[in-house]
């Protein structure tokens, strides 16, 4: 009977109930849309950035983070990487050998970063061959290199020219070599464009005399949402007795802390806006629940006089508020879900300067939406939390309700 009573009580003030539920629904749709877009953008940015720099996860020698030295390397063997390959969530694995050297051509020289990669694998991951503006992309068995456009201009080099790389190799050996330029690649980020030299991994291993070793294994997951789990799996797999204290498993947040901080700050801003929105709607909900309580003081008094215990009376008000919230959540999800799903599969396409800037970075100019059950669950939990918060004062009033005062004429007598 209490459920029936609570449900029917909702419709005593039909307009008020509908308006409150709609306000809740609107807040839910807006924040769901906003959060989905925000998280979608972060995921997209993380994936895009990962492709051109650190990757999502890297396996490094435990000392490499501090030393960045050619001395701290990992095996480049199948046996070493086999545990990672066996993981379902791992989509691709790229070996990289990274070190610094002095590049010289004619009377000019410059400190550069040399990246030894498996060209085909790297291209499949980041489509780097699309960024070649002159010449051709390198192959695994080439003895040539690919250099950044900024660097080529600084050293006055063109395709077919040669440059000298000079640096320190593994175990203090001298790393020196003369390499032909097979292609010039343009990176939108100047720090890469002015610094980077790509060469096939075997060639870089010869240059730095590392043998079958790499400075990092870059690991990409099928879904960004599986990152955390994959990270945990990798940490477990590479903490065996044999590899203990040798392998450091790092994610993009660890590898690119500036970006992680930027995202965290942006996310905090978004969440603040969301709570602000819910705060405004919360006042509406609070007013409705409070009015529903105060205007029925006498009725509550009569119910208690005829035998309804206080706990059930409190339960009745909780039920009524829950119904309003559920109504709001249901309407909100009914409107919000198709919207988010639609934009997930048909992302908003950016135009103008923003689009050009993104294209320049090699990113697709879209605003993708993330479709994750947690985003929906979060919104439902926020609405329920809001409802509980709004209920506190009305419930306290009922808990303190004096029967005689209530029967005399309600809250106004207090």
């Amino acid at each position: 009977m209490l459920i029936k009573l609570a449900w029917r009580n909702l419709w005593r003030q039909k307009r008020r109930t509908i308006l409150t539920a709609m306000a809740l629904a609107l807040a839910l749709v807006l924040s769901l849309f906003m959060r989905s877009m925000q998280e979608g953008s972060y995921a997209n940015n993380i994936e895009n950035s990962a492709k051109f720099s650190t990757g999502l996860i890297q396996l490094q020698h435990v000392e490499f983070e501090e030393s960045q030295s050619i001395e701290d390397l990992l095996p480049a063997t199948d046996e070493f990487i086999a545990p990672a390959r066996e993981m379902d969530d791992v989509e691709r694995i790229l070996p990289r050998l990274e070190s610094f050297a002095l590049a010289a051509a004619g009377d000019k020289s410059k400190g550069v970063m040399v990246l030894g990669v498996m060209p085909a694998l790297e291209d499949e991951y980041s489509s780097i061959s699309d960024k070649v503006v002159e010449g051709e992309f390198i192959k695994a068995d080439d003895s040539a290199v690919l250099i950044g456009q900024g660097l080529a201009e600084y050293l006055s080099l063109a395709v077919g020219d040669e440059l000298v790389l000079y640096g320190q190799g593994y175990r203090g050996q001298t790393a020196a070599g003369l390499y032909k330029i097979k292609g010039i690649v343009h990176f939108p980020l100047p720090q890469l464009d002015n610094l980077l030299i790509y060469m096939p991994l075997p060639l870089s291993q010869t240059l730095f005399s590392t043998g079958e070793q790499v400075s990092a294994w870059v690991i990409d997951t099928r879904e960004l949402t599986r990152l955390e789990q994959t990270l945990a799996d990798l940490k477990r797999a590479y903490s065996s007795q044999k590899l203990k204290n040798k392998v450091n498993v790092r994610d993009w947040e660890d590898l690119a802390p500036e970006m992680a901080q930027q995202i965290a700050m942006d996310k905090a801003g978004g969440i603040f806006m969301m709570y602000l929105l819910y705060g405004v709607v919360g006042f509406g909900l609070f007013a409705t629940i409070l009015m529903m309580t105060l205007e029925r003081y006498r009725e509550f008094g009569v119910m208690m006089a005829t035998g309804l215990v206080r706990a059930k009376l409190l339960g009745l008000v909780v039920l009524e508020s829950s119904f309003i919230s559920l109504l709001g959540v249901t309407i909100g999800l009914a409107l919000g879900t198709p919207l988010v799903v639609w934009f997930h599969y048909h992302p908003i396409e950016l135009t103008g300067e923003t689009a050009e800037m993104m294209l320049e970075l090699g990113w697709e100019p879209i605003l993708p939406m993330l479709l994750s059950p947690w985003l929906f669950i979060d919104q439902i939990l926020i609405v329920l939390g809001l409802m509980l918060l709004c209920l506190l004062y009305p419930l306290w009033r009922i808990y303190r309700l004096d029967l005689v005062t209530a029967l005399k004429g309600g809250a106004h007598v207090n």
């Binding site: 009977m1 029936k4 009573l5 029917r8 009580n9 419709w11 005593r12 006498r298 009725e299 009569v302 119910m303 208690m304 006089a305 005829t306 035998g307 309804l308 215990v309 206080r310 059930k312 029967l403 005689v404 029967l407």
Partner: protein, 227 residues
């Protein structure tokens, strides 16, 4: 089975310079099966007295003993249970739950006692039939006249089979015909089932029907007569 008050007193604003003595040192005894009218001018303390012997208000001093139980000493939960099982209330403005039908209003108080749905339904129908509303079971209060609503309130008050029914000016909002019909019903129930009815009223039509009249003035009993 009786209601016994001893040195019953109720003072509002007790700790201020202007205390209001609603009921002063009242000794009263009401036996099972009585049909009592408590009359007096507005503010004489009639409602306060009914509230105290109905377990709604707490006396400032004195005791209310019903069937040997000092209800003033009962805790909140026990008092609610005692009220639910022993005392029925009829209010001047009917005070039915507006979203429930006549039948559901009567069933509701029985369900609070823990009766089965079937029991509640059967008794509610019988009671509503007794008060002449057998054809109006599924109407919500706003679709009923004032007299009909007060009859539903009577059925609701009687639903838990209480031993006492406190009626606070039950005919104040009713016309002559409805008042007469309502009094007939209550009188019949009093005679047939032995339920004690205690009214607060200044309606001469009610006073005329009562078998005992208690006159209250300025919080004090000034007359107690049988008729």
């Amino acid at each position: 089975m009786s209601i016994q008050t001893t040195q019953l007193r109720k003072t509002y604003n007790q700790d201020t310079d202007f205390p209001v003595h609603a009921v002063k040192q009242l000794d009263l005894s009401i036996e099972q099966g009585e049909f009592v009218a408590v009359m007096g001018p507005s503010g004489s303390g009639k409602t306060t007295l009914l509230n105290m012997i109905g377990g709604i208000d707490i006396p400032s001093a004195g005791t209310v003993i019903i069937d040997g139980i000092d209800i003033c000493a009962l805790k909140d939960k026990a008092l609610i249970a005692f009220r639910r099982d022993n005392i029925g209330f009829i209010f001047q403005d009917y005070s039915l739950l507006p979203v429930l039908t006549a039948l559901e209003n009567v069933e509701f108080v029985m369900q609070l006692q823990g009766h089965s749905e079937k029991e509640c339904r059967e008794r509610a129908i019988t009671l509503l039939d007794q008060v002449g509303l057998g054809e109006q079971l599924h109407k919500i209060p706003s679709k009923l006249s004032g007299g009909q609503q007060q009859r539903v309130a009577v059925a609701r008050a009687l639903a838990p089979s209480p031993r006492f029914v406190m009626a606070d000016e039950p005919t104040a909002n009713l016309d002559a015909k409805s008042t007469a019909e309502l009094l007939d019903i209550m009188q019949q129930l009093n005679e047939k089932e032995g339920t004690t009815f205690i009214f607060s009223t200044h309606d001469p039509r009610v006073i005329k029907r009562a078998r005992r009249v208690i006159v209250f003035e300025d919080g004090q009993l000034t007359e107690d007569r049988a008729q």
